[in-house]
């Protein structure tokens, strides 16, 4: 989730910001800015914004997407635009702004004669790395991974705002790495994109895949299984004084072929992997959640997966996240939510809804915020305990 006092809300009292988000009265307005590569506003485009929405999806490589309705053309596939939402309350006498991401508008659909409106979809700045490198890429054993990743990004048009967690600063490649122009596997003649080696290099030291935050800054941090993360916010459907959830909440379950047993193999190691050295077999899921072997009346669903890990520890860290995700996949919760622009990347919530069941921890899977006063939506995956 965004920090309550992240830019452009620096200096505000976090309690007041939270009171604004959950208070009795809420006024909503939206705007749009063109920004430069450093994230500085260079043009206010709010007069051109008719309507729109911003969505986030944790299951794809380029996580944020926007859909805007504009009344004039702006630089398609060139300009960087930053939609924002302003919330205010008469009761509290407070007004605050939330940025919702920085986007390249890639897919305009224009019409003339009926309002001259342009509907355009945009992708967040990771889109700039989702194109082929056009060459074979290598990394030498002993090179610092995060420095190598920064150099890689610097060769693209992404810009200078790259912030990786310093916890991995000293980690190095433990062997030479090669990303060929055309990958040996993966199908067809799909060339290696800038995003693939970046994500694999970060994964190899136990980091999550790169993502871009609400201000357009690239981020990556050590992968922490959701079960070990503290919920960032309590979403309560039971709190009559403060709930921001709509009256209709949904729970969906799909138990089809979700693994409850796993074997993980490190990708590309020279030696034949053995357990503890390039191979990791976590305990079978005997009893956690509705996909466990016990819950399925003894049915064991095994998955064998190869992961791009440099070390056994990185292999185990990646495996733990997958195991948890497989357990979470069992239950999905979708809620309508009042304008709540706090939602960010990979958020973890405590979900309280007595009508549905006991309180649960839930990890965001997808969300949408509308650039108007409409309710947004939030889909989460439950984390079994």
């Amino acid at each position: 989730m965004q920090s309550l006092t992240a830019a452009p809300r620096e200096g505000m009292d976090p309690d007041v910001v939270m009171a604004l988000l959950t208070g009795d009265d809420l006024e909503v307005s939206a705007g749009l800015e063109r920004v430069d590569n450093d994230g500085r506003m260079v043009e206010d485009l709010s007069a051109a914004l008719v309507d729109g929405s911003v969505s986030w999806d944790g299951s794809v490589d380029v996580h944020r997407e926007c859909s805007l309705v504009l009344n004039r053309e702006i630089g398609w596939d060139r300009d960087r635009v930053r939609p924002y939402l302003d919330l205010s309350s008469d009761l509290l006498g407070v007004r605050a702004r939330w940025w919702l991401g920085v986007f390249i508008l890639t897919s305009p659909s224009e019409s003339w004669g009926a309002g001259d409106e342009r509907t355009v979809a945009g992708l967040d700045l990771l889109h700039l790395l989702a194109c082929p490198i056009g060459n074979t890429l290598t990394a030498t054993k002993g090179t610092k991974v995060l420095a190598w990743c920064r150099d890689l990004v610097a060769r693209t048009s992404f810009g200078p705002r790259v912030f990786f967690d310093s916890a991995g600063e000293d980690a190095t490649f433990t062997e030479d790495m090669v990303w060929p122009l055309i990958p040996a596997t993966g199908g067809g003649l799909a060339s290696t994109t800038w995003l693939q080696p970046l994500a694999e290099a970060l994964s190899s030291i136990g980091f999550e895949k790169p993502w871009v935050d609400e201000a357009g800054q690239m981020r990556a941090r050590p992968l922490v299984p959701v079960s070990q993360r503290t919920p960032e916010h309590v979403l309560s459907a039971d709190d009559v004084a403060r709930t921001i959830l709509g009256p209709v909440r949904q729970r969906q379950r799909d138990l089809t072929q979700i693994p409850n047993a796993w074997i993980f193999v490190a990708q590309g190691w020279d030696l034949t992997p053995v357990e503890g050295d390039g191979l990791y077999t976590p305990p079978d899921n005997l009893s956690v959640g509705p996909t466990s072997i016990t819950a399925r009346n003894g049915h064991r669903v095994l998955a064998v997966r190869e992961l791009p890990a440099q070390t056994q520890a990185a292999l185990v860290a990646q495996a733990a996240t997958i195991v948890e995700a497989d357990q979470r996949a069992a239950s999905k919760r979708t809620v309508e939510i009042n304008p709540f622009p706090m939602m960010g990347h990979g958020d973890v919530y405590q979900l309280e809804d007595a009508e549905v069941g006991a309180p649960v921890k839930a990890a965001a899977a997808a969300w949408t915020v509308h650039l108007n006063e409409s309710n947004g939506s939030l889909t989460m995956k439950e984390v079994p305990t």
Partner: protein, 130 residues
């Protein structure tokens, strides 16, 4: 005894792009202005009801106009869909637009063809530099 004289209020309509271009029409009486805000008393879970609204406001105004010479009615027709400034002579001022100016021909008055016009004005958000 001098004949009674009825003086009507007047509505001044200036073209926003060229304020020197104006027309004056008599106004029989002011009609209701309708300010409108988008929002609702939103029902949430647990029975909570919360006020959620969109910033901004629109205002509609349909003044009832007096009889005008036909050339004034035709002038108003040319102003359809263009931003105008409306002043009612008693301090009321509004920037707005009307999309149609239906008129009906009446008889000749003082040798001039007359008509009655109806306007439905929608306020347009406007700011003036001081």
């Amino acid at each position: 005894m001098a004949p009674a004289v009825l003086k009507l209020r007047q509505l001044w309509i200036n073209d926003a792009a060229d304020p020197a271009d104006y027309v004056v029409v008599p106004m029989l009486r002011d009609s209701m202005r309708t300010p409108k805000v988008r929002g609702e008393a939103r029902e949430n879970a647990a029975g909570r009801v919360r006020l959620v609204r969109r910033a901004g406001r629109t205002e509609a105004w349909a003044p009832q106009l007096g009889v005008v010479p036909l050339d004034v009615a035709l002038d108003l027709k040319d102003r359809c869909g263009r931003l105008q400034t409306f002043r009612d002579g008693v301090g009321g001022k509004l920037h707005g637009v009307f999309w149609e100016a239906p008129y009906v021909l009446l008889g000749r008055m003082n040798g001039v063809q007359s008509a009655r016009v109806t306007l439905a004005i929608t306020e347009i958000t406007h700011s003036e530099e001081v």
